[in-house]
Symmetry: C2
Subunit: 429 residues, 2 copies
């Protein structure tokens, strides 16, 4: 088995406890785990009761001293937050220790600097758990797609919002009811904004796109973001009638000019597309690449066990390479033409609005869309006998800026009683 | 880029042509491809017209001399067959050349010997393309599941049969019609037996299980095998009414006593299971492991481009390790309690039979099943006004040997007009 490898664990919440359970019970797992020693665990509060059995001699509130322990060669950060783990990981890398982290919020903000620091110190920083928890995505993208040119990575990368949307579709819950249930089940936080507003998905697609396209991490404000809180149960029903499921998708799509289209928003997904069937708290990522075609990775995107699985797999892969020091590669943007502004995205749209029941109402809206270059696939008048006609419209592929100017004109017109929603639809082939 | 790496390609069919297209057009793919030189291509018949542009100076009918060329350090075998590639790969390994092959039939028969030969010569043999074509399965299993104990690998690993079953379900084609269509589209061979009888799936699950459980390759005759040719359109319809899709599944399932249950047969898959939605020529493998849970890999299981993608990814991974010679690990069965006989498998069953319309017919069959310890989940009488009642039965989990003895008694009894089919159902939780 050769040398012993000392590991420090920073954080003992759900994921940290999962990591301890794996490390302390190595039989039947990868042989290399048997040469790993858990040197110590840093926690915020020693007095807090713990669900895992770990002796008090290995628990400390002093993360920095634990990291500096010369027996430690790999530091696992699963404490959460941004600034505190940032300082600790910096220190670990400066000391020449390898780092494994599940912290997408940290990486999306300081990743590029940490990658450079790892390279300068000839150590590795690994973060498979940061995207889609237990699903192997980053490692397969790096190791199994080398023959390909990746054209897109599109995923359901947030389990909370997918749980909410699934309950709306399957059980006709309103958004607020589904959110309350997700909170009571522990799928959503008391303050759910990071999930429902799409921030978590935005951080994940930043990391995923950098691996898929071998580019430096993008700035978060380059990624268009829209959450799910405006999705009405009626939209979910109309979408089903039209043959779609509504999902919060994260997109990283290479354009023909080389620019990358990065965005997060609710999307109508045709029922024959594999992502339409990813339900509940599950995650999935579909990679399109030439020549392999369409590959989907599917599994649990969060949870202590799955996330710990990805963290410890990273530890094992570092152990495997410890005998052969490998430099971390830091992606550099050579001849990269940049990210695509949201206004230039071409996609289909689903539009729902309420119109005054005047003669020629469909013609009126049809003319406005046509004037702005928006071609319609279908327009259906629902509830025709009520006081306001509800119109459900699906467009062909259209440039986002044209759609926005068409909607501006519609909002100013006299036929519109109430604008309800505009949701993007997966584009035509 | 450092040293040049010479590659020899044996075979220039669909997959071989895909490999040439990738190697000769490396820009935009993994950087390491740019240090790979395609030294030569061995073909069976030089006079045959080719779809890829490759100069005659690099084409030869003499595979052995090409392999022996000292410029060649990696040999790619995509010629098909068993005995000829076996001899060529042996020679390559003996000469200290790395080998990449997509040849499942060869590996399932001679793999263990070739792995030992590779280890003795300190070279690698890689075969990602042998299981599920373009879908990365073997590499992620080896690299991303180390923290886990794998409990099962279950997959749709044959695209031909999945295409046939999908057409039966979606378009109400009879088996023979769907097969004929698959043949005309090139999805099935003129002699379709290797696909429809389950041999191809049997070879793939042998390879997949050896990687999932880190065991030597099993003998093919240890793997129970049943094909799809007995599936009637009526079974597909009844299965749909009961909430199932019929799929040809390959199983590798670890039992609590450590034995591995290996088998290939048509299976009723509940519509809420992700494998039920894998349609057409697509493949998918679901890995269950502790603590990660259920992970699915989905994508194109065959075809020139996807298979070539996996072959070339193996070449890239060999290039990545060439600077650091790694010994191929040959799995050894330490304390392995063996494979599970089919009679000891516990699963649910779907049974369809025609009975004479006599009083007490349901009670008659119910008693026989009960006598043999077979507990029923449902029994439905279809076509009750015809001359023969058709009975559709779903059992709870039952031991296969008990089911067989119950069916033997039913076949001998006077109530049975015609025994139609018995298809296994994915077991209860």
């Amino acid at each position: 088995m050769g040398q012993r490898i000392g590991v420090a664990l920073i954080g003992l919440g759900t994921v940290g406890s999962g990591v301890v359970q794996i490390l302390e019970d190595a039989v039947g797992r990868d042989m290399r785990l048997q040469s790993v020693d858990l040197v110590g665990v840093a926690v915020r509060d020693l007095s807090k009761p713990r669900t895992v059995a770990i002796g008090s001699d290995r628990l400390t509130e002093d993360a920095l001293t634990l990291i500096e322990n010369p027996e430690v060669s790999i530091v696992i950060e699963v404490m959460g937050g941004v600034e505190k783990p940032y300082a600790l990981i910096r220190r670990a890398l400066e000391l020449g220790k390898h780092v494994v982290t599940a912290n997408k919020a940290l990486l999306a903000r300081h990743g590029q600097e940490l990658f450079a620091l790892a390279k300068a110190n000839r150590v590795q920083i690994r973060y498979e758990a940061a995207v889609c928890g237990g699903i192997p995505v980053l490692q397969p993208l790096q190791q199994c797609f080398g023959a390909n040119r990746v054209t897109s990575a599109i995923g359901i990368v947030n389990g909370t919002t997918n749980y909410i949307l699934t309950q709306m579709a399957d059980r006709s819950l309103a958004y607020t009811e589904a959110l309350a249930e997700a909170q009571s089940l522990g799928y959503a936080e008391a303050d759910p904004r990071a999930d429902v507003d799409g921030n978590d998905a935005q951080e994940k697609i930043a990391i995923l796109s950098s691996i898929a396209f071998r580019l430096p991490l993008p700035e978060l404000d380059q990624i268009y973001r829209e959450g799910i809180s405006a999705i009405a149960l009626g939209d979910v029903r109309y979408a089903q009638q039209l043959g779609f499921a509504i999902k919060l998708l994260a997109f990283a799509v290479r354009q023909s000019d080389g620019r990358i289209d990065l965005r997060v928003h609710p999307t109508l997904v045709p029922l024959e597309h594999p992502l339409s069937r990813v339900d509940g708290a599950f995650n999935a990522v579909v990679i399109e690449a030439d020549p392999v075609g369409q590959i989907m990775f599917y599994g649990p995107g969060a949870g202590g066990g799955p996330t710990a699985s990805a963290v410890v797999s990273d530890v094992i892969n570092i152990c495997a390479e410890l005998a052969y020091p490998v430099q971390s590669a830091v992606a550099e943007a050579i001849d990269f033409p940049g990210y695509l502004p949201i206004g230039e995205v071409r996609t289909r749209f689903y539009i729902r609005l309420k119109a005054f029941d005047l003669p020629g109402v469909i013609g009126h809206f049809g003319r406005i869309f046509g004037d702005h270059g928006v071609s319609l696939e279908s327009i259906v008048q629902k509830n025709p006998h009520g006081e306001a006609a509800e119109l459900v419209i699906i467009t062909h592929n259209v440039q986002e800026s044209q759609m926005r100017s068409a909607l501006d004109e519609i909002r100013e017109g006299t036929y519109l009683k109430e604008f309800c929603t505009a949701i993007r639809v997966l584009p035509e082939g």
